[in-house]
Subunit: 200 residues, 2 copies
DNA sequence: GTCTATAGATTGATAGAC
DNA sequence: GTCTATCAATCTATAGAC
């Protein structure tokens, strides 16, 4: 696991380029230049470009699951864990400002292209959603957990898109604060038995 | 104005395809097929593909301004006008579900490509932001008007991204309801002199 | 103003030597 | 497993006839 082979090197280079330039805008030449192999050598490891995309997504799914496990291990409370999620916007701001959210932008591109791999890429979103959903359930919001996780997913996506377009870090910090405040009012409501499913 | 020339036909076809497939993924052949001209004929009207993009963005800016004027004319109150903005998500759901938000997805793509036209495309966002800002000022929220318009911009962007990825119309309707409720609580607070700049 | 023909580069993909 | 050589298609862009 994690062994450095040509195959994994291709996947990692493709992962980076698909994120930074987009899937369509990335060519075999671009990847070959990074991995230092010839273009012809690709086809020993992958039959088509789509197969590389498939491997990249699968790899991202594994990495994402590892990330979520880390958050599970390090976050003491569900509130703290969700806060961790919200704070990716700040922690990864350098990348997000330049290339947007890796999950959101990939899905958007594949939806537009009606690409067969879009359902696969959607699983990245679903992973976060399921994890968030579980955290909200732990906060005692069983009924609204799905809506709440979708809501938070959308909030973070929107902030990434708008902040990246305007290149506005101050806005990100402000919105992260708003989401954390919202979360706190939420966790408090949970511990006091109050209901707060509506607006935020 | 609005005269049907080859030039305007190219712009309209390019506009549609840049939205539906993305800028990079659209070729001259694709546009030529719609406009029914030869590929060589493009260069009588535009020197480069980037010039077509520039013309498309300029055209979108004009159309957007017209849309905002319509909302100004038809909406009796700032609250009603903002509601109009929020409801594009439902009104244009067919397109948004298939291709995302035309403003957000174009900006995201051009940011990734570090394209020289990105600042031009950003003006589309700025148009909506300025207009929203003005509406919030009319609601008596002078100090927070910029933050509020950016916040609403991000909310709608996030909903478009996530709903398009999941192809979930129900989620859109739910989030539109939440945003409208938030707006109402806002307008009420304004008329009763209360402050509500924080969380939503 | 529109066309055909074509340049020159690049694309994804293949074949076969080593 | 990696290479070179190459294919056919496509790309943006140009030149020049009509």
């Amino acid at each position: 696991m994690g062994k450095i082979t040509t195959r994994t090197a291709i996947i990692e280079a493709a992962d980076r380029l698909f994120y930074q330039r987009g899937f369509e805008a990335t060519s075999f030449s671009d990847i070959a230049e990074i991995v230092k192999i010839s273009r012809g050598n690709f086809y020993h490891h992958f039959k088509t470009k789509d197969e590389i995309l498939d491997a990249v997504i699968s790899n991202r799914l594994v990495m994402t699951q590892q990330l979520l496990h880390t958050w599970d291990a390090e976050g003491a409370t569900p509130e703290e864990r969700i806060r961790r999620f919200i704070h990716i916007l700040i922690a990864n701001w350098d990348k997000i400002s330049a290339f947007g959210c890796p999950v959101g932008t990939l899905n958007t591109e594949l939806v537009k292209l009606e690409h067969a791999e879009q359902p696969h890429a959607l699983k990245l979103f679903s992973l976060f959603r399921s994890w968030l959903c579980h955290q909200f359930e732990l906060l005692g919001h069983d009924a609204a957990a799905v809506e709440l996780s979708m809501h938070l997913l959308a909030r973070t996506q929107g902030v990434a898109t708008v902040a990246s377009a305007f290149n506005d870090e101050k806005f990100v910090r402000h919105e992260v604060q708003l989401m954390c405040d919202w979360l706190t009012s939420f966790a408090d409501a949970a511990s006091s038995g109050e209901k707060n499913v509506g607006n935020h």
